[in-house]
Amino acid sequence: MQFLIMTFLSPQDLCRLGGTSTYWRSMVRDPVLWKYFLFRDMPLWRSVDHLSVPQVKLTGSAVLDDSEMQFDYMAEYLRVCPACRNQWRHQPRAFESVTSFFQSFVPVSEPQFAMFGPGLEQLEVSLMNTIMYSPHILPIAGIPQRQIDGIGSGISFKYKDQHRFNIATLYSTNRTERERARLEHLNLRSKLFVYEEDSESNIPLSINPMFNQVCQAVNGFIFVANAETERERQQTDVGYIARPLPISFSSAYCPTLGWEMAEAMAYSLSLSLLYLGLLCGNGLVSARGSELFTPDPSRGPHFTGCRSREQETFRCWWSTGTFQNLTEPGALRVFYQTKNALEWQECPDYTRTVENECYFNKTFTHIWTSYCIQLRSVPQNITYDDTCFTVENIVHPDPPIGLNWTLLNVSRSGLHFDVLVRWAPPPSADVQMGWMSLVYQVQYRVKNASHWEMLDLESGTQQSLYGLHTDKEYEVRVRCKMLAFDNFGEFSDSIFVHVAQIPSKESTFPTTLVLIFGVIGVVILLVLLIFSQQQRLMVIFLPPIPAPKIKGIDPELLKNGKLDQLNSLLSSQDMYKPDFYHEDPWVEFIQLDLDDPAEKNESSDTQHLLGLSRSGSSHVLNFKSDDDSGRASCYDPELPNPEDLASLLPAHSGRGENHPLVSSSSPSIPDLGIQQTSEVEETPIQTQPAVHSWVNMDFYAQVSDFTPAGGVVLSPGQLNSSPEKKKEEENEKKIQLQLLSDGAYTSENTARQLDVPPSPGPEQGYHAFPTQAVEGNLWNGEYLVSAGDSQTPYLLPEAPPAPTLPPVSDYTVVQEVDAQHSLLLNPPSSQPALCPHTPNKHLPAMPTMPMGYLTPDLLGNLNP
């Protein structure tokens, strides 16, 4: 019973009832009740918002199943119903009112609507045609300029002479297919949507992505349902019938709908078609569909406007519209009525010069008084149009005059400038007396740009424009309106503001300054970088020279140039001999020996030459000993001999050519010598020819050089001044030759060397010992103090075997001894035992040995 009563109550009353007590509150929330309301009222609502599209699947049955019991139909109803919807609207704030106020001045592009739906396609006569040929409903305004990609422009309609809007149609298929479908009563699916596959239902799933673009270009959609086929919903008697939207069609598909307050409108034409559209355009937001399609009187004679320029007089204009029989003057007359005088009076003054104008002069113009005017055809007693206003509301002031500008200042950079714009109020407006209070709006833009920048309203007659660019020309204009009224007058004539960019110091200075500072900054940065990353950069640009990696030698020694110590170290560490040989010691040696030639230069040129040669030989000898000492310890027993040989080679060849090693001018021998010295492990075969050549060369050289004295190659005659020494040298050679042959290890060589010696004989070999010993001592004394011990033993053991033993054996003995001493091995016990003694004997016997080794005197001293 309660339920039944409640169904007769309005929802508003129900809510109030629910507010009384908790019992009623629970009763009132019954979903069945609200579903009933929802179904009952929904077809009657004139509009459905995009926000308020009902979420419910409308089953049509009043019986609820379990799942629906959970659904809050009350909330749904309250959300959807238009009367309640106002509460859901966002509340415009102050700035919004201001912006909307300004928006009203901006010429809005015409809103565009896309019309689609089955109602559009299933008719024999196209709906579009129907609309176009019924100007009493909507007059056509033409074909709009704006095009939407893909669907064309549509047709522009006019609403109440002010608003224009476009309607474009979206057909699902082409015309022939549509006709075929219509004849066969097929259900065409709109290609706007994506449907479920394999399903006959025409409920679209989602919108076709191709049309998303259309969605953005269109302000709203009009869905046309075909009421002829949907009888169950058709209620043509009711003026406004809304067919529920397809659930899936909501504003979510159209981004532009989201933020605009969308008004849904539903209206019907006499064709029993149902329209339902979502309007989200600017101009028509609030225009209800009912108003859109109520018969519009503007098509007939109507007022086109009333205006006052100065709030003292006003004029009204009208148009005969489509009624051509009323064009002659006097056919239509204007009557007016003010609230003061209630009877209608005719227009005081029909302007003669202007057609269809009525002029109210100062006497008949009263502000703050409501005027109502009517357009009548007196003979027919028909009132075609009427409108009401007060004069202050129709004031459109004349444009301001005397617009000019003065330059305020130019920015330091010369890029911007400010100007002061001045103007004078319109002369028609009585501003001085205070009859009109005007506010002005200045607009400016870059010349030929489309967008006007608007400044705030200004009540004075001047305003500043800031931050204009010097290289652009600006167009400035101003208009005015009455304070606190809406109607702007016309714009004044534009003025153009242009300030040439001044290429002054001010403009160039900063750039150069910036450049200078920039460069300085970069330099500072680089310096800082270098200082901070010094180590790294050093590594990058100056890669470290690989330090001489001598095992056991302090690199500091090398750095400090303490060569003495270094040499001593090197000699002790024999493996570095070659290096030592090639480099510093050699030079050092030469220097030391320079003294000797000076002493020797006594007798003749040849002697001098000899001295030189001797000095050269002495070098070599020193070398040899040097080598021996080194090799003895570090290399295999066999190797030192070729080494010795090699070291000797240049010496002897040098003797022949006076410049042993310093200049390598001599063709073959020195080269070979060098080769051999450098290449310790030279093959014996290579050394062999060298020996031969050397032997030949040597003899030859001796002949060439010294034959004047001796004549015989190896005769003592060669030794002019110092025969003994010559002998020595020759002995030396013999020994060396022996050694050489030994080093070659070839039977031939030995044989040949054995052949060669005949003249010198073994004694000479014996003679050679002292020289070698001397050399060793000399060498020891001069260079290696520490190595002296090792050197002297070498000499002595060599001495005894030399005379007795053949050269080969002699050599072997030497080697052994060498090896023993350097490596501290003890092969035969007897020889080491000898070693210590002999040097001791010899050394005291040669006090001046180091210096005088090369001189004949010394040699003489030694020989005994």
């Binding site: 509340q91 415009p92 225009a287 703050w368 008084t369 009585d430 606190a484």
Partner: protein, 237 residues
């Protein structure tokens, strides 16, 4: 009698001696006390006073327009917006004989101008109070609208004060006891709570009327100022 004369003389002397003091000190704008006479109010020049009054009137006019627009956007259906152009049909101040044409207004004396302003101001005190309460009844009335209404009510009070002072200074006479004129105009504002739309429309009409009257006040005062400046164009009567 002798004592009386002497006392008057004393007062006068006192006034003369204190004259520079009064000039330098800004005496608060309060000329209502009977003893003070007009001499107190000379501290603020009549011109400045008129300026201030005009400022007030102009501000009130602007705010009235803003609140009218605000209300219109919030509550008034679009088709009814045209009501505004019609300037309010049934304003309670309509019975006042206020001329509307420029030539007529120019012929009105200063006295009538001032008294018209005063009448208008006083007639709007109560309706604005009423408007505040009725706006409070709207659930979703924006604060801006409420604040503006409140602000206008306050300013209207000070405007009344200023106009009263002006009348005294300019006309050297008391205020018309005009309150009886308005009594019949105020009766529509009663305690009944009408239907929503009806209430909205009535408030809308009220705001439109107020805006129109504010415009009147502003115009009259400006006209008065023009006349005070002795410009020929303003002295056409």
């Amino acid at each position: 009698m002798c004592v009386c004369v002497s006392s008057v003389l004393q007062v006068w002397l006192c006034c003369v001696s204190l004259w520079p003091c009064w000039l330098s000190h800004a005496v608060p704008l309060d000329c209502k006390d009977e003893t003070g006479s007009l001499a107190h109010c000379t501290s603020i020049s009549q011109e400045k006073l008129l300026d201030r009054v005009i400022q007030h009137a102009e501000l009130i006019y602007r705010v009235s327009e803003e609140s009218c627009t605000l209300f219109e956007e919030m509550f008034v259906p679009y088709p009814l917006h045209t009501l505004r152009n019609q300037g309010g049909n049934m304003c309670h101040t309509k019975p006042f004989p206020i001329p509307g044409s420029k030539s007529e207004i120019q012929q009105i004396s200063d006295k009538w101008l001032l008294h018209s302003v005063l009448m208008l101001v006083q007639s709007w005190m109560e309706p604005l109070m009423y408007l505040q309460t009725t706006l409070n009844r709207y659930d979703d009335a924006p604060d801006a609208l409420l604040n503006k209404t409140k602000w206008v009510s306050d300013k209207l009070l000070s405007l009344e004060q200023g106009v009263v002072v002006l009348i005294r200074k300019m006309l050297d006479e008391g205020i018309l006891t005009s309150s009886s004129i308005f009594e019949h105009a105020l009766n529509p504002y009663d305690e009944q709570s009408p239907e929503m739309l009806e209430s909205v429309l009535r408030d809308y009409n009220l705001l439109i009327c107020f805006k129109k009257d504010a415009h009147k006040m502003e115009t009259f005062l400006k006209l008065l100022k023009c006349r005070q400046s002795n410009k020929l164009s303003c002295l056409s009567y």
